[in-house]
């Protein structure tokens, strides 16, 4: 039986080790949460199956339903992980003093954020892999060129940045309960009427202009255009960059760590 040596021997773990542990911790906490699983996987799975099988629920417009709905479901998955999950988790981290406590540990703040980003990226890769496989199994035939997949990847990264920054802005400035409510409300609103799943040209003309300027409309339409082989419109990319940059600036100025 060894003895508990209480003598001081301070020191920070190597940054790589801290990042790995922080990311693993974030992933464990995410996977433990049932609502999170519902949001990140079950809802998109149900919608992709329903949407691909029936064009009677929502008129998606000309073309095969599965080809129209699958890119939108991928955009929905990005929204759920990078916005809703992130905002709620971060809101409660503030509430429980986790961010404060870790702020007094050797873990730098940028590494705390990096751990979150890494966890989000890993969850998204898993989500998208599952949803793409299901889409393909249901008959989805995306444009198969490498350039289209690279464009889709770029859109997902930009969409994650835009939604993530918006989520952090809400979580960093509002109370945890308000963040919970807003994050879920925004998720539902954008899912139903944000240009995420239903193509923009199915909306009334005035609504189209507004929706094209939302990150949901830009990401959803960008992915639909990309997988149809048309490539994303520059406007979609600009919209996502503007949202990411302005919300990111807001986070750096207004985020309260406790």
């Amino acid at each position: 039986m060894t003895h508990l040596d209480l003598s001081p021997r301070p020191g920070a773990a190597p940054i790589g080790v801290m990042l790995r542990h922080q990311t693993q911790m974030e992933l464990r906490l995410l996977s433990r949460n049932g609502e999170q699983m519902l949001l990140t996987l079950i809802i998109p799975l149900v919608l992709i199956v329903l949407g691909a099988r029936s064009d009677r629920i929502v008129d998606l417009g000309p073309g095969r339903p599965v080809d129209i709905i699958t890119p939108g479901i991928l955009a929905l998955a990005v929204l759920s992980t990078s916005f809703t999950s992130l905002a709620i988790a971060t809101g409660f981290e503030r509430r429980y003093g986790v961010i404060k406590r870790l702020g007094a540990s050797p873990l730098p703040r940028w590494a705390f954020m990096a751990g979150k980003i890494a966890a989000i990226a890993i969850v998204e890769v898993a989500q998208l892999a599952i949803l793409i496989s299901v889409g393909l199994a249901l008959g989805w035939s995306p444009d198969a060129r490498v350039v289209s997949w690279l464009q889709a990847l770029a859109l997902v990264v930009l969409g994650t940045a835009a939604f993530g920054a918006l989520g952090l802005l809400i979580a960093g400035t509002m109370r945890a309960e308000a963040t919970l409510a807003v994050a879920n409300l925004v998720y539902v609103l954008l899912l139903v009427g944000g240009g995420l799943i239903v193509p923009l040209d199915r909306y009334p003309e005035t609504a189209q202009h507004v929706l094209a300027m939302l990150p949901s409309g830009a990401l959803g339409q960008g992915l639909r255009d990309t997988f149809a082989g048309l490539g994303p419109q520059p406007f979609s990319i600009v919209v996502l960059i503007v949202w990411a940059a302005s919300c990111g600036l807001g986070v750096s100025r207004m985020f309260k760590w406790e």
Binding site: T2, L6, S7, P8, R9, A12, A13, F92, G97
Partner: protein, 317 residues
């Protein structure tokens, strides 16, 4: 500015923590009002004060959570904000509440904190030492208040820091757990760890600390060892009852010079002065000579609590 910096650097050498003329205001409320205090390395120092005295604001400024609005704070000679990267691994922090993910399990959270340090304590031994083995897989939000406190203490010490800041470390603990926490803090001192703790429990400050700073309304109002603070207050008293109308002047003449005897109520006597066994013997001797039988006799030495209440007032705020 340069003048204060020079004198300041000289002091830093012996002091683990140095707060100089700290002022902090929230809106119209002044939380800390020109507070200066220092903490000697390797000691346990208590910051004692009523609720709202500015204890937490002071300690959180030392932890780097708040920027001093005026004045300065140094920990191990470093600026808690500018030198955060150097300082953070050397400092252990226990917040007044929270500090763990609500969904994290107790042992998982402790291991995570350990993993951020280069040479952490052996987590299994620490768990055993703090009696935390029964709730290792319980999520933080389901832990009792006392269990959360113990986890928080474990998280503060697991990185083997030079300096510990503990904000009300025993709030909500049962008596056994309190004792265990006190023992651990004393043992850490034995290994050279400097501890700064806030408390509003007099007995805690009395039992644990080498040095006590009494803070009220954002100001330091008294400072010293427990013994110094207790003695510095009003004199100690002996109260006894006996037959009414004794000759107090004659009794006083038989006692040491600084002693006073009064009879505030008929048959009830109060002796004030330096209380020691000799004085008690002198009083009972004089009573015996005059064939007076004392009824009850109470010896009351000043405690830190008396001193604290004398200084901060007896009314609730």
């Amino acid at each position: 500015m340069s003048l204060t910096t020079a004198s300041y650097d000289e002091q830093v050498s012996q002091h683990a923590v140095e707060v100089v003329d700290l002022r902090m205001r929230y809106g119209t409320t002044t939380a800390v009002d020109g507070l200066s205090l220092s903490v000697e390395a390797g000691t346990v120092t208590a910051i004692l004060g009523p609720n709202g005295a500015g204890k937490t604001t002071t300690i959180e400024t030392c932890e780097g959570f708040r920027v001093p609005q005026s004045g300065s704070v140094r920990v191990l000679g470093l600026d808690p904000i500018l030198d955060a990267k150097k300082l953070r691994p050397r400092v252990g922090v226990m917040l007044q509440s929270g500090g763990a993910w609500s969904g994290s399990r107790a042992h998982e959270m402790l291991r995570h904190m350990a993993s951020l340090h280069a040479h952490p304590l052996d987590v299994d031994l620490l768990i055993e030492r703090l009696g935390m083995h029964n709730y290792g897989r319980t999520p933080y939000r389901r832990l009792s208040g006392g269990q959360q406190q113990r986890l928080s203490l474990a998280m503060a010490i697991v990185g083997r820091p030079d300096v510990l800041f503990l904000d009300e470390p025993t709030a909500g603990l049962d008596p056994q757990a309190r004792r265990a926490t006190w023992d651990l803090i004393s043992e850490l001192r034995g290994h050279g760890v400097t501890t700064v703790l806030t408390t509003h429990f007099m007995d805690e400050a009395e039992a644990l600390s080498d040095h006590v700073h009494i803070v009220d309304a954002g100001r330091l109002i008294a400072s010293g060892t427990v013994a110094e603070l207790a003695v510095a207050g009003a004199d100690d008293t002996i109260r006894f009852t006996a037959t009414p109308g004794l000759d107090v002047t004659a009794l006083m003449a038989a006692l040491p010079l600084d002693t006073k005897v009064t009879e505030p109520a008929s048959g009830s006597y109060v002796v004030t002065g330096t209380i020691d066994p000799g004085l008690v013997a002198a009083i009972t001797g004089w009573l015996a000579q005059h064939e007076v039988l004392a009824g009850t006799m109470h010896i009351k030495r000043q405690t830190l609590e008396d001193r604290f209440l004398d200084l901060t007032g007896r009314t609730l705020r």
